[in-house]
């Protein structure tokens, strides 16, 4: 195909301009976001819980209070005894477990519930924001009107917290939502409100972090390390832990300071930011295909002439 000089020039200018433009857009998408990305921070007013297992006596009042406040189980006290489950599950949002080594020396309790991560993996994976982190309080809540029930949160959560109702046609995701209804009424979460030894307390994250560090400072030998679990672990959590035994003994995983989404979805975010990379790919593919498509049509027309049969696309 012969091109006139004018056409040629036009093609070259348009072509190079678009290459430069798309290249710049891609570059900006890949590097710009990389610079803009910082460690996610907890909201300034973020609420928190501090659990200190040197104070916990394992009475399970918090477990019973949770069941009652959230109505996760009917008839929780029908036999006069607190309802207790072995694991977090679709009827248990909060549980106390006991770590007791074989030598029986240093036993320790641990309270399990949603950690309300600063940068939660469940929220990062959730398609339609069925799970979301409140911008002010930082509480991670679940929305039944949006959740599709895909259970990606269960795959993503490094603490194994979200649970699914496996029975019935209308299943829900069950996890601690920091007693958001009680908080809206100006009350504390059920678990912190009943703790007789103040092993678990409620407050602002900044204040509780300071309190935790203060406790370590006052009694350094009482605690396993000069470390508050949840300050940095997995990007930080809004449930903070102090322990007299190593954290991994009480089921708290050894996570890097990077949050799970930050560590694993970094490139996914960059490649898809502003959809620049897909747009460039699409434009260049269509360009090539259009060229080949013309030739293909010519071939088909030739075949039609030769055989007299309707061409097959």
């Amino acid at each position: 195909m012969a091109l006139s000089r004018r056409e040629m020039l036009q093609k070259i200018t348009v072509g190079s301009a678009s290459v430069v433009a798309t290249g710049a857009a891609t570059g900006a998408a890949l590097t710009g976001t990389a610079q803009a990305q910082e460690m996610p921070q907890a909201p300034r007013e973020a609420v928190a819980m501090l659990y200190d297992n040197t104070r916990c006596i394992g009475c399970q009042s918090c477990v019973a209070a949770c069941v009652e406040a959230n109505k996760t189980l009917e008839n929780a006290r029908i036999e006069g005894v607190h309802h207790t489950n072995l694991e977090l599950n679709a009827t248990t949002k909060n549980i106390i477990k006991l770590y007791k080594p074989a030598d029986g020396k240093s036993y320790a309790y641990v309270k399990q519930q949603c950690m309300h991560c600063v940068d939660p993996a469940c929220v990062a994976g959730c398609m339609f924001k069925g799970l979301r982190k409140d911008a002010k309080t930082g509480v991670v809540t679940w929305n039944s009107k949006v959740c599709v029930g895909c259970r990606y949160c269960e795959i993503a959560c490094p603490y194994h917290v979200p649970k699914f109702q496996w029975e019935g046609w209308n299943p829900k995701i069950v996890k601690c939502e920091f007693c958001k209804e009680r908080q809206a009424q100006g009350l504390q979460p059920a678990c912190t409100s009943v703790c007789p030894t103040k092993a678990v307390i409620f407050g602002k994250r900044t204040e509780l972090l300071a309190e935790a560090k203060n406790r370590i400072k006052e009694n350094p030998n009482k605690y396993y390390q000069d470390r508050v679990f949840g300050e940095f672990e997995g990007g930080g959590t809004q449930v903070l832990y102090l322990s007299k035994v190593p954290f991994d003994k009480i089921g708290l995983p050894d996570l890097p300071h990077e949050s799970v989404p930050e560590k694993y979805l970094k490139w996914q975010k960059r490649v898809y930011s502003y959809l620049a990379v897909p747009a460039v790919l699409y434009a260049s593919m269509v360009g090539v295909i259009r060229g080949n498509w013309k030739k293909h049509q010519e071939h088909m027309a030739e075949d039609e002439k030769k055989t007299g049969l309707r061409p097959q696309l």
Binding site: K129, Y152, I155, A156, H160, E167, L309
Partner: protein, 416 residues
């Protein structure tokens, strides 16, 4: 029979209601029955899934693994349209149909798998989208791909059928085709962009599994390895289907096209293997491959399947032996499927003591949906011009015996 593929011809000389077809329909019907039970009783009673293994085979096998096999339209289409492998155009209809059915079957099963499917309408409200979620990417891209570009790629056999059997619609067919011809490059472009995106995002899903995915599989390159595996799986699925159909329905095969497909499949597998092993070495976890445990075993099984597949693909091309070719593509499919399945289930350790094995109902539903896709394929290739054949088959179907006889002597004969 060795020949040249020139035109897509329906399997016109075989009745639709054959025993395998009835068996597939029966399996599908059984699955639909079990689905009713699952919808009423919930996922717990119907499946082996639990809070640790929250994803079962409906997601991990039928969707994350089998749509890899359904990537033929993506992989072969790219080879034909972008990389100018013009002789592959003749198998595109087979590729598009297998892909569409694999996707449709997987997507329908996703609807069965999710707990609250009625909320899926939020997919139409972009302000609800969490753009950083790989699952959102899958949820938007996959149905879009199956329902727009892939479906449109499958329209020509239908318009052919209308043109041939319903003369009064010919005018509409002509108009529709005129529009399609104009949009075709844009649709085809979309048909490669979208699978590239969601096939890689299927791999990205397991990224959030973090260190619970065994280090031999967990890598930032998981999305790339997934889409790459989809490419050779797509080739193997289409080549295997073509070889199987030609054997079952006694149709001639075109060894030149198949050898070309072998070459591309082998190249894709070889480069994939190099990339995979380089990734493992550079991440410094190659030592894990030499431990004596199930994970190392799985890794070597994948590698062995694919290594043998490369060798068999090349050998079968050299010998021009269709039977060996079929087995080679089977090997490649096993290896690739195992790779895509492993990080989701076998090499995924959510926590100590966690256990998952699908229940019989779960297995029946999974297989039943595959059977439905196979049944649909068996039906459609008998009605529509999907499978490639030499020109004389077309004339014979049209009962143009004279023209068929003219073309009786195959132009291509295998070198013995």
């Amino acid at each position: 029979m060795i020949d040249q593929w020139e035109r897509n011809v329906p399997v016109y000389d075989v009745p639709i209601w054959t025993r395998p077809f009835i068996a597939m329909c029966g399996l599908g019907a059984l699955a639909v029955l079990f689905v009713t039970y699952r919808e009423l009783a919930g996922l717990g009673p119907a499946s082996g899934m639990n809070d640790a293994y929250a994803w079962g085979i409906w997601k991990t096998f039928n969707t994350m693994t089998l749509t890899g096999l359904g990537s033929g339209a993506f992989a072969i289409g790219m080879a034909a349209w972008l990389f100018k492998r013009h002789n592959l155009h003749v198998v595109m209809r087979t590729a598009c149909l297998t892909s569409f059915l694999a996707y449709l079957s997987g997507l329908m099963l996703l609807g069965v798998d999710v707990g609250r499917p009625w909320n899926f309408y939020w997919v139409f409200t972009p302000w609800r989208w969490n753009l950083h979620s790989p699952l959102l990417e899958v949820a938007v891209c996959m149905p879009t791909y199956a329902m727009i570009p892939l479906l449109l790629e499958n329209i020509p056999p239908f318009t052919d059928w209308l043109h041939q059997h319903k003369p009064k619609y010919r005018e509409y067919v002509r108009k529709a085709e005129a529009v399609m011809v104009r949009c075709y490059p844009f649709i085809v472009g979309l048909a490669y962009l979208l699978p590239a995106m969601h096939q890689s995002s299927l791999g990205a899903l397991m990224l959030l599994g973090g260190n619970r995915v065994y280090p031999l599989w967990q890598t930032p390159w998981l999305p790339v390895l997934y889409v790459w595996a989809a490419a050779f799986l797509g080739f193997s699925c289409v080549a295997g289907t073509l070889l199987f159909c030609s054997q079952m329905w006694k149709r001639p095969i075109d060894l030149d096209v198949l050898v070309e497909m072998n070459r591309l499949t082998a190249g894709l597998i070889a480069s994939w293997l190099v990339f995979r092993i380089a990734d493992i070495v550079f991440r410094g976890v190659i030592g894990l491959a030499f431990k004596f445990d199930i994970y190392a075993g799985l890794f070597w099984m994948e590698t062995a399947f694919l290594g043998v597949a490369i060798w068999m693909l090349r050998d079968s091309s050299r010998q021009r032996d269709p039977r060996l070719m079929f087995h080679a593509h089977l090997m490649s499919a096993f290896g690739g499927m195992l790779y895509r399945f492993d990080p989701t289930t076998l090499a995924f350790q959510p926590k100590p003591g966690a256990f998952y094995f699908p229940t019989p109902i779960e297995l029946f539903i999974s297989l039943g949906f595959v059977a439905l896709a196979i049944a649909a394929f068996m039906f459609l290739v008998k009605v529509l011009a999907i499978l490639p054949a030499p020109m004389r088959l077309w004339y014979r179907m049209e009962t143009h015996e004279k023209k068929a006889a003219e073309l009786q002597n195959p132009r291509f004969v295998a070198a013995d």
